[in-house]
Structure formats: structure tokens, C-alpha cells
Amino acid sequence: MPPESDVSAAVPETPAVSVHAELIERLTKAGATACADLNYAQTGMDLDIDVAPEKLSGVASQLKSEHYAFETMVGVDRQPGLDVLYLFKPHAGGPRVKLRTTTSRETATLPTLSSIYAGTEWYEREIFDMFGITFTDHPHPRPLLLPHFTNFHPLRKDFHGAPIVIPEDTVEIPEIDVKEAMKLGQSDTPKRDFFLNMGPQHPSTHGVLRILLHVEGERVLGGRCHLGYSHRGTEKLAEKRQYVQFLPYTDRMDYLSPVNYNWGWAKLLERAANVETTPRAEVIRVIMGELSRVASHLVWLGTYLLDLGAITPFLYCFEDREMILTIFERVSGQRMMTSYIVFGGVRNEVHSGFVNEVRELVKHMRKRMPEYDTLVMQNEIFLMRTDKVGPISQEQCKEFGVSGPCLRASGVDYDARRDEPYCDLYSQLDWKVQTEQAGDCLARSRVRMAEIEQSLNLIEQALEKLEEGPFRAKVPKLFKVPAGEYYSITEGPRGAIGWYLIGDGSNTPYRLKVRVPSFANLQVVEQLIPGMRVADVVSILGSLDVVIPEIDR
């Protein structure tokens, strides 16, 4: 049974006149057919808008002119139709708009939005991989995540398994499509241009990213990212797992901040099942989440400096991170994959020495931060490698859906911890969203370093609020999510993690889409690197702090 495509029908007493009436009017003028209000507290979205495929670009242009930022695209197999959903929200605050458009299984064709919101380009390629929907006039119609010889679309409901079989004659890396790659070149008459294959095995791609660079000497003319070398089919697996069983997979998507992913998943289920957590659980969540953020930023600092040629900070950072992991291990039993934040609260009570250990850690980190500042942030070589390198404009942030420190480094004051009220405690604590104006690698680095300080502040204050009480609300062990569509966003160290869930009333998701921050952040790279030197590509990549298995899922 396909689920109800709209949850708003179940919301009692939808107001006769929408609170977003003016916006609806403008969008209807641009071509939207049906508009309905959604209950934010229940669904995480404000406005549900149906658009016919041919009117899509008109509505998107209207949204763009009103400074809406692109968030994510979700493909759904509704059996028999195929839906594509687009989520938009302005950074300055405003309703989250869901555009919905439908195509039939037979035609499976939609117009591309990449000329309006450039960030849809990769999402459209992903949807082509997963659902077989072709986007007309797409600038780069190639598979994104799956190998080029794949002949199926895994997220369609009629696909049931059969692993990819590598054809006998393609056991090598696919040849560079020179004709296609030539299009990348910015210079009209490159004289000594050639292609440089960076990755998948490369020390500075932070995993298995492959970038095909078109270079002329040391100067980069253009580049294309090739993804999918760590694609694990997590979204398909989610459809075969019960809600509680999926928790460990959330750890493994972003292994540098598993706690924040656990949190996002738990928050999504709490929103869908309308469950409140306990005050003690909220406090523990904030402490663990911020510790995880500090640990993740420390790995970023260490590896980024390793990329830029400095080995010593790596040893410092990993030692500090080990102290955090020791706390994680005592609390949850695992160093990295904690699976600690669960539906309704946290999995178990913290151990007796927890508060003292965290206090010691904060004290230690406060001593270390000036060292990092003098050792790294004021280092002349570091400044030369990062200052004015790879600036991201605010316009690009909006088009691509950049989030997290990369967004805040461009001067956009948006943080899901403050602007998406997923945890009440954050509003009660004294902290500030850190922003920089330049948007370059140095600004991104500074934002992260300032965020570590803010996280330490948050941890200290949260420790004061840790009071006795139950660590988990009374929730059923096995539960079903009511039919409907839910969206929840949490702030991870890399940016806003969005979870789009379509429940059909059973104990497994009908469709789960994770909007991962690194995906959007990495996509900007293709725009940043033309004109740079090869060494700057490494610097830019490192400053974006991407995690590849998170992108590939």
C-alpha cells in the first residue's frame, strides 16, 4: 500500500486562511496548483505545494527571488507514480516549503532545476541513479553514486536485491571521458593541458573521493568530482530495517560525529511518534553532542594541517580526541559508534565519574586552545595557504544548500541549533553562533575553532543543569510510525543534517532520505577550483571538512 502522500489531511482544524497566504498567492501566480499548510511541530515543514513539471522552473525562480535557500531533493516511488520533492527555506527565517512534482513510471522525465538552483545538479544525478528519472537539459547527465555499468534503479520498490555485477571487461577504472572532460576547460586554447586523476586513493581526499582535474601546468582549469566509491545502499537498507534496528547505521554514515547522527534519528522518530524526552536526557544529549562536535573538529584540524604539510598538530589533536573517546567509551561502551542517543532519551545512565571527567576535559581543552591558536591559526604558512583561498559567496550558499561552518564562514547567521528548535536546552544556554565574513578557507577554519570554544561553554553550562531524573521517557520497545511525511533537522559538526521520512504505518520506513551536509558542501568545489593551483585544491577540500561515506551513504 502506498502511504498517504499528505499528512495535512490528518491535522485537525486546518485554519481556513493560511498564515502564509501572501506567499501562496505569489507562488500560485508563478504556477503552483495546490497549496496546503503543514503543521510544523508535527512534520517539520510549513507549506506543501504541488507543481506540474512544466511549471517547476517558474515556481523555483519565484522562490529564488525571495531568497529561499535550497535544502534537499527527495525522490519517492509512490507506486505507480514517481514523485520528486524539493525543500526550500530562507536562511533569515521563514516557512519551509516543500514542492512536489510527479511523473509517471513510463515517461520518468522531469525538467532540470540546475540552471536556477545549481545545487540540484548532483541531487538530480542521484535521483537518476536511484529511480531512473531523467532530467531534461541536465548539464552533466551521468550516474553519480552507482558505477556506470549499473542497469537497475535500487530505490524503486520493484527492485529487490541482486548485487551489481562487474562486467568481465570493466575491471579497471573507467576511462576518462575526454570529450566530456574537455568541456570543463575554462581557457579556450589551452596549450599544455592534461588531466590529473586525484583519488580515490589519495591522502588528502579524506576517504575515497575522486576528482578529475583538468590542469594546465600547475593551474587548474576545471574539475569534476566522482562519487560513489563508498556507496553502501543505506537508504535501501533502511526500508528493510525496523525503526529501532536502523540506529547503528546512523553511526556509520558520519563516523566523526556519530552522536549527532543518533540524535537526528531519535529526534525524527520523536517528532513522528509525538514523544517528549526527559529533561535529564536533553542535558546528556547536549553534553554528548557537543563533545562529539569538539572531537570532530579536532580530527578536522589535525587532518587539515596534515594536508597542508604540518604533522605535529595531528598528534596533538588526536591525543585530545582520545580523551573525549575515553569518555564516550565509559558512557556507551564504544569509542566511536556509540549508538547512545535513542528514541525517547539516551540508552543508559552515565557513569558516576562522568561529570568530573567532562569538567577535567573542558579544563584541559581550555588550556589547549591558546596553543592551537599560536601554533596553527597564527602560523604564517597556514595563513598563506588559507587566506583568500576558495571563497564561497552567499549566493552560492543559497543555491547549493551549503550549511554548517562553511555557511557561517560566508557571513550567513544560520545554525540549526538556534533556528530549528530541536532541543529546548540550547535556547536556555548562553552561547553565540559564530560567523565570519570572508568565506575563504581561513574563515572556515576560524569558525570551527570558535565553535570549539562555544561548545566548551555549552558543555560547562549543561553540566550545571544536570539534575536527577529518568534518562529515558517511557516508550514502547517496538513501535510504528503513523503514516505521513516527517522532516527533522539537526546541526552536526559539518552542517545541517536533514532526515526526510515517509512512514506507511508499519514498523519499517517506506522511504528514508538523509540530507547530508557534506554532499552540498562538496558540490561547491567544482565552482571554486577553476583558476586555482593544484595545491589550493587540497587546501579547499580540507577546509570543507567532508566525510565521504556520509556523502555516498
Partner: protein, 177 residues
């Protein structure tokens, strides 16, 4: 993907005659071989090659607290041509598999492989019938000397694996030639 579990005979005489009849070397310097094995075991050069989660634990193992340098295995090389130990740290999917095979082929003999974590051993949490993307164990494409269970394994487990591998190399029991 048809020829799985086959050790490529890199660096060996490749004629059909010698392969079939398995002719031993005419002169064998056993003490020299032992000395070489001892030297190789105590100066392993791993390939910098992180795929997923386990790579972070691999990095932690080489960083300050665990310090694999103590066991002579801390010189991570970025080029496969300079490395003799491949630590497969993470989930190998079918898009990645040909590349791992190629990296392995690019390493000079003798060479060894450690499969770090459940994914590299058997697909781990992604090990199941209906997963379309993940290779169910790296052993299907390269010969593995030491398996390290865990999801992810602790750095101590990796150190233990390195010590085990050193013992194997010293006693001449590895897959590699």
C-alpha cells in the same frame, strides 16, 4: 570477478613451465632469507588508504597514544609503490573493488594485507542478501593475511594484528611471495 582468491604472481617467473612444475630455486640461502624476513617484519610500510570508519581508528593507532611506530609499522606511504602492507580499513563496495585490486597489484612483492573491521572481513552490517552495493569481504579480491574483527576495531586490535603479521612473516607463513 571470476578469478577470486588467486594470488597474483607478481615478481615471479611467469612462464607456464615453471608455474606448473613448481621448480624450487637451485640455491637457497636459508639464513639470508630469515634475516630478510626479520628485517621486513620489523619495518612494515603501510599504505595510506582509508575507506570508511575504520580508517579513523587506523589513524588513531598511528597517532600519539597508540603509536604503531613502536612496532616499526608507522611509516604510512601515500604511494602503493612504496608500501608493502595494505590495511583495508572500511567498507569495500563494488565500485571500489577494481581499484583496490589495482592498488594491490601496484604494490611491490612481498606484500601483505590486513582486513580491518567487519566490513572488510564479510561486509559487516551491510552483509546481506539484498544489499546491492557492498562487496562481501575483501578476501574475494586480494589475499588476506590477518583479519581484525570489530566495528570498528580498537587501535589495540590493529596493533595486535600487526604483531601477528610480524610473527607470520618471521616464520614464513604468509600468503605473499
Amino acid at each position: 570477478m571470476s578469478e577470486v582468491n588467486e594470488t597474483p604472481n607478481v615478481g615471479q617467473p611467469d612462464t607456464e613451465l615453471e608455474k606448473d612444475e613448481q621448480i624450487p630455486p637451485i640455491v637457497r640461502f636459508l639464513p639470508l632469507q630469515k634475516a630478510l624476513d626479520l628485517a621486513r617484519a620489523n619495518s612494515l610500510w603501510p599504505l595510506t588508504f582509508g575507506i570508511a570508519c575504520c580508517a579513523i581508528e587506523m589513524m588513531a593507532a598511528s597517532a600519539s597514544r597508540y603509536d604503531t611506530d613502536r612496532f616499526g609499522a608507522g611509516v604510512f606511504r601515500n604511494s602503493p609503490r612504496q608500501a608493502d602492507l595494505m590495511i583495508v580499513a572500511g567498507t569495500v563496495n563494488l565500485k571500489m573493488a577494481p581499484i583496490i585490486k589495482r592498488l594491490y597489484d601496484q604494490m611491490p612483492s612481498p606484500k601483505w594485507v590486513i582486513a580491518l573491521g567487519s566490513c572488510a572481513i564479510c561486509g559487516g552490517p551491510f552483509d546481506q542478501e539484498d544489499n546491492y552495493a557492498v562487496l562481501q569481504g575483501v578476501e574475494k579480491i586480494v589475499p588476506v593475511d590477518v583479519f581484525v574483527p570489530g566495528c570498528p576495531p580498537r587501535p589495540e586490535a590493529l596493533i595486535h594484528a600487526i604483531i601477528e603479521l610480524q610473527e607470520k612473516i618471521k616464520s614464513g607463513q604468509t600468503n605473499a611471495s
